[in-house]
Amino acid sequence: MNKANVIKLSVGGMSCAGCVAAVEDSLKAVAGVEQASVNFVEHTADVTGSMTAASLIDAVVAAGYEAAELKGTDEETDEKQAAELIYYRQLLKKAVVAAVVGAPLFLMGLLGAMPAMSGGGRLFWFFVAVLSLFVLIYSGGRFFSGAWKSFRNHNANMDTLIALGTGTAWIYSVLIVLVPTLVPEQAQHVYFEAAVIIIALINLGSALEMRARGKTSEAIKRLIGLQPKTARVVRNGQEVDVPIEQVGLDETLRLRPGEKIAVDGVVIEGHSSVDEAMLTGEPMPVAKQVGDELAAGTINKSGTVLFRATRIGKDTALARIIEMVRQAQNSKPAIGRLADRIAALFVPTVLIIAVLTFLAWFNFGPEPRVAYVLVTTMTVLIIACPCALGLATPISIMVGVGKAAEYGVLIRNGEALQRAGQLTTVVLDKTGTVTEGRPAVTELVALDGDQQRLLQLAASLEAGSEHPLAEAIIAAARERHLELQLVQNFSAIAGHGVQGEVNGQRLLLGNEKLMSEQQVDVSTGLDQAQRLAGQAQTPVFVAVDGVYLGIIAVADPIKVDSKLAIERLQRAGLKVVMLTGDNRATAEAVARQVGVDEVLAEVLPGDKSDKVAELQSRGEVVAMVGDGINDAPALARADVGFAIGSGTDVAIESADITLMRGSLHGVVDAIEISKAAVRNIKQNLFGAFIYNSLGIPVAAGLLFPFTGLLLNPVIAGAAMAMSSLTVVSNANRLRWFEPKGKR
């Protein structure tokens, strides 16, 4: 058996399609390479064969390009965590250095023990000026370099404000030390301690914020942590443990009790039960036998199985879930747009306010004017915090989307998260959503008493259909070992039934409407049909050569928790509508059992989205919950489309929200998490707006004419450092959120 080793490389230096061929050729020339394909858009290469990454990198470099191995998501995360830890320590160190210099000066100021600006005192201040310059460079250098780079690019950011605030304070203080007579005696005050302590506080705030931000991505880390590092592969009849990156497609893997599943695959031998709760939120283990799919990251409970790898690396359901959650966490909903627009204008506006503050105090302020001008202008620059404003939305989205993933709910983007909190009506497709979606034949009513023939003819005709009812009828025929006959001239009549020829007889199968349209008299079967429908069974009429032959009753069992989940939806103030192509009597029987508010029955598949639009035109904000394939247009039309996945199938493109387990509880969970996240965003935005719109005028000295009070620039620095930390901490509260109601 081939050792199908797949290595993914990042390739640099390719500028044209010709480079693609050159890189591919260089890779193919490496001994052991079976296949090499280069993706120009992604600048990556996938190489299959028995070779090492180093030999491939050498070959690409020899061809004049650059290459590096792309590793799994967990290694990326380890590197990221290591880099973050280093940065965190640097920030703390810088904060401590600045605090060690600033705190004694600050205390001396408070105690009134500052040396005078003459004689030996001046010498002391010279020393402080040099020391604080060192601190500004070491602890605050990044603000100054960032401010300068931004400025050159016609951009202004938080660095600009901090650099201008502390820089002005330092320069003014140095001038006072050098030429004290420049200002009146009562204004001969220096602000070295303010500049240094502000730098200390902002570094400390950044470090704490970074810690708190790390917690916001815990959901992703938990998902990444599900991926095992090794797998037991069967090669040449031997079972060997290999690193996960070396598992190839179609390889056979051994899975023992208690082990995590390494890659996606299909069981080829044995049976077991698998705990999929970590991906789907489904608490009950799922039975697996030959032919069943296994998902990477889930845990084998009891049996030992052999399985064939069908998806590896970044293609596994787990990897795709991680990618989808990451993408969603980085998207922004409409609610954050205003904050974004303000953030873009914020810093230059604050600069203008600072100049206006300067002018106001310069022209109308009391003496010593120059000291008041400096303190107020510096405080305005320091207190303004664009970060809190910019962070308010994305940080809550990050935690909210991660929280939803914990419950097996994949939210596609921030927009969907926001809209899910505003829903007023939930439309549920019946088959596969409210019910199991696995209909079974429950009764055969043959007019001539020959149930076998009725079922045999119906199953032969349905062999050409893909409808769930057809599957039930064919399965029933197979159970009874009935032989299916060849069908000719088959055609499906959407929403009504099917027709075709079997043994030269024209067969018609479908609902009552189809029979009356085709002028088949079914009056003798109507009582039976009504009785069946009243028991939530779907009566399927069968006619041969235009003559009514009998009824096949098919029922789809209702999911055990549908009723409870619908009650939760109603308790959350939502109207619940059930939509189905089924006949009215059957639909109403199901509706009675689960307690929905309204039933829309006998809706043709193509009309489902019109029904959604109709509800929207009544002013409702509508969610459509369906299987994601048959209901795609209705899902797309709805304000929020929920696709109910089967297990770990996440390839549902038309949905805003994908539920990884079949339970309707996921819909309520998603709505409750969305409401909590939007509430959190509003708190954050409100807090950030209020902070800035109160903080800046107070810093400018608006209270001074009434109270004689001015804000100390050091207090402004502390407030600024705390403001983004508060936003991040508030978003972190979402991590403890739990959906209400019994699940």
């Binding site: 600048h43 780079k149 690019n153 951009n155 938080m158 980085n330 998207s331 922004k332 873009a344 022209n363």
Partner: protein, 118 residues
């Protein structure tokens, strides 16, 4: 003297308005299909990138700034975002079929860049 200081302050306001809002820096025209964007010191360099409509452009973000603000780039209008590894690079491929200006920012909107599709 006071008049001069007042005048200078007003000129400074004018300069802020002109420099940060009115004066646009020169964009880099992406003649090739791939272009490097350095993420460092609070700015994307180049911050303005002109691309032709209908082509796929690959932006290769090279992150040098360790600050967590720099860790994500978001193209909000295009629904695209990417996590940028520190001291590494990340390619973002975009097929731009519509003319217009599309901003890309960090999560907080402090790093700002613009794609101009012509």
């Amino acid at each position: 003297m006071d008049g001069l200081i007042n005048l200078l302050a007003l000129v400074l306001i004018g300069f802020i308005v002109w420099w940060f809002w009115l004066a646009r820096s020169q964009g880099v025209q992406a003649k090739q299909e791939a272009i490097d964007v350095i993420v460092d010191g609070g700015v994307y360099t180049p911050a303005i990138i002109e691309v032709s409509r209908g082509h796929t452009v690959v932006l290769n973000f090279i992150r040098r700034d360790a600050s967590p603000c720099a860790e994500r780039v978001i193209f909000a209008e295009l629904g695209v975002s990417a996590e940028l590894p520190l001291a590494g690079s990340k390619q973002v491929a975009l097929k731009l079929d519509d003319e217009g200006e599309f901003e890309f920012t960090c999560q907080m909107g402090m790093y700002r860049g613009k794609l101009i599709v012509k």
